[in-house]
Amino acid sequence: MRFSPIRSVVLAVYALLVVVPLVVVVFGSFKTTPELFESPFGLPSSLSLRNYEIVLGEQNLDQAFFNSVVVTAASVALTLFVASLAAYGIARTPGWKGWLIFGFLVLGMSVPAQANMIPQYVLFDVLGLLDSRLGLVAINVVVGLPVAVFILGGFMKTIPREAYEASAIDGAGPFRTYWSVIMPMSLPSVAATAIFLFVIQWNDLLYPLLFIRSPELKTLPLALLEFQGEFLTDYPLLFTGVVIASLPIVVAYVLLQRYFVAGMTSGAVKG
């Protein structure tokens, strides 16, 4: 290849730009502030877990971690269930009716959160869902539905009619067909949707910021954001928070990388 040397240089430089800050953060989470300022790139002098003890113990990030796990798991599962039911129904509704339902649900993808968050806030207030994990799950489901229906519906429409019919001939009702035939067949797209929702909902800051007041109900991004005021320049503590907040998603990325790329690009196709 003609541009081979330039290519290598560009790629190597960018690889460094991605890797170095991440390494600095991980190493930094084991350092003291003076040590970080002294040698930001160096290995930590000891594997001291002091920062982790402070962040998880005194700063209660363990509670935030728990909240994030509960809220995200429930949100992803519920969104997937409701959206896949809809996608299945739509895929089996022939003609314009199916398209109309699909189009109506998917239209929501083009509405930015800021456009309806205020009436949503008022509605959640009336229903007593503010400042609760349940409320966060509910809003996550609402906001995640359009894109989930978009990805799942797009996939289920491509499943051949025969698959639905064969199952019916075997005497399965619609729910059985959905659960034992169509969902297993849609696994790649279900996985991609799950990852997309997981990343969005795990990292979401807006709705916790709007809804949550009680310190013990904060999720990780909100708890982290509030670190900022407290430890203005205590970077090692901020970095420790970053590592803790990122860990589950990084582990998932390493294990399920294929689905991440599929999920986060099919989710991106929502211009």
């Binding site: 990780l220 954001l225 970077y235 970053v242």
Partner: protein
């Protein structure tokens, strides 16, 4: 759709057809199928569609979010947005600067990376996975990482400048006139890999024969890119540009992470501005701002499509 074709089964008497279908039990959609989209539709209508419409109703009031009474102020909120609100004008200007830089640089850079990594070799696949990585982090995490890079006293940025022998030390986010561009750089680092993946998919769909034929005709590398690649990846480019635009209007968390809550004047963008109005209990006014916000995004996305189409048409 089906009326033009004569289906033999439909040609039979309706009763007969129905009986036969029921006998086969499969070809007709089960009536219960209509129930499946119902939960999604109910949730969506109550919690999403109606609130979206309500935003329009709020936008013409002076409601503060908790008073029992409020009055209808007509177009006053909009008049204030366009003529009397320096904060909104500032946020809009910051947001447009931010968006332009991110869209141009992130798209170009993502495309460059995609071109360099289009082949499915081991090394390319590994690098793609690495470059994609920042996208999965939370915006607040990314903001903290870059806060340290941009720290004027101890940060990595100035240290690197020093290390390569440059006698410049930058203030980064501390310099009001350029602060928003440093956030734009962070945004590019954050999401270039995600857009690269979309471009890789687009590039891999271009038939190799086109390049072979062009090579035979003596077309150079740039000519091949200009006349084959660029027009052929038009759908991918449209997606990337539209998505990047929307992302750069939604960079809410990144701004709060880097610029504080509420953000500094120099880093305030539309989404943070709306949130701040809301947090100040100006519900009606914030709703009006959010409608203008939506209109701005829609107008920009439409304009971009036009511009892109012009560059792609000339093959």
């Amino acid at each position: 759709m089906t009326t033009t074709e004569v289906d033999p089964r439909q040609a039979a008497t309706p009763a007969g057809a129905r009986r036969r279908r029921r006998g086969r039990g499969a070809t007709r959609a089960h009536p219960a199928l209509l129930l499946f989209p119902l939960p999604a539709l109910a949730i969506y209508v109550v919690f999403f569609a109606i609130p979206t419409v309500q935003a329009v109703q709020y936008a013409v009031t002076d409601w503060d979010g908790f008073s029992a009474t409020f009055s209808n102020v007509g177009a006053d909120n909009f008049r204030r947005i366009f003529t009397a609100d320096d904060l909104f004008a500032n946020a809009l200007l910051n947001n447009v600067k931010f968006m332009l830089v991110v869209v141009v640089f992130q798209t170009a850079f993502a495309l460059l990376l995609a071109v360099l990594l289009v082949k499915n070799s081991r090394g390319s696949i590994l690098l793609r996975a690495l470059f994609f990585f920042p996208t999965i982090l939370s915006s607040v995490s990314v903001a903290f990482i870059w806060k340290f890079i941009y720290d004027p006293n101890f940060g990595l940025g100035n240290r690197v400048l020093d290390g390569v022998g440059l006698d410049v030390q930058l203030a980064y986010l501390g310099e009001a006139s350029t602060a928003i561009y440093w956030v734009a750089l962070t945004q590019v680092w954050f999401h270039a890999g995600q857009m690269m993946v979309i471009f890789v998919a687009g590039l891999q769909a271009v038939p190799a024969e086109l390049y072979e034929a062009a090579e035979l005709d003596g077309a150079g590398r740039w000519a091949q890119f200009r006349h084959i690649t660029w027009p052929m990846i038009a759908p991918a480019t449209a997606i990337v540009v539209a998505y990047t635009t929307i992302q750069s209007f939604k960079a809410f968390d990144l701004i709060l992470g880097l610029g504080g809550n509420p953000p500094k004047f120099s880093l305030d963008i539309l989404s943070t501005r709306i949130y701040t109005s809301f947090a100040n209990s100006e519900f009606g006014y914030a709703a009006a701002e959010s409608l203008v916000f939506m209109a701005v995004i829609a107008a920009i996305v439409v304009a971009q499509r036009r511009v892109l189409r012009l560059t792609q048409k000339d093959v």
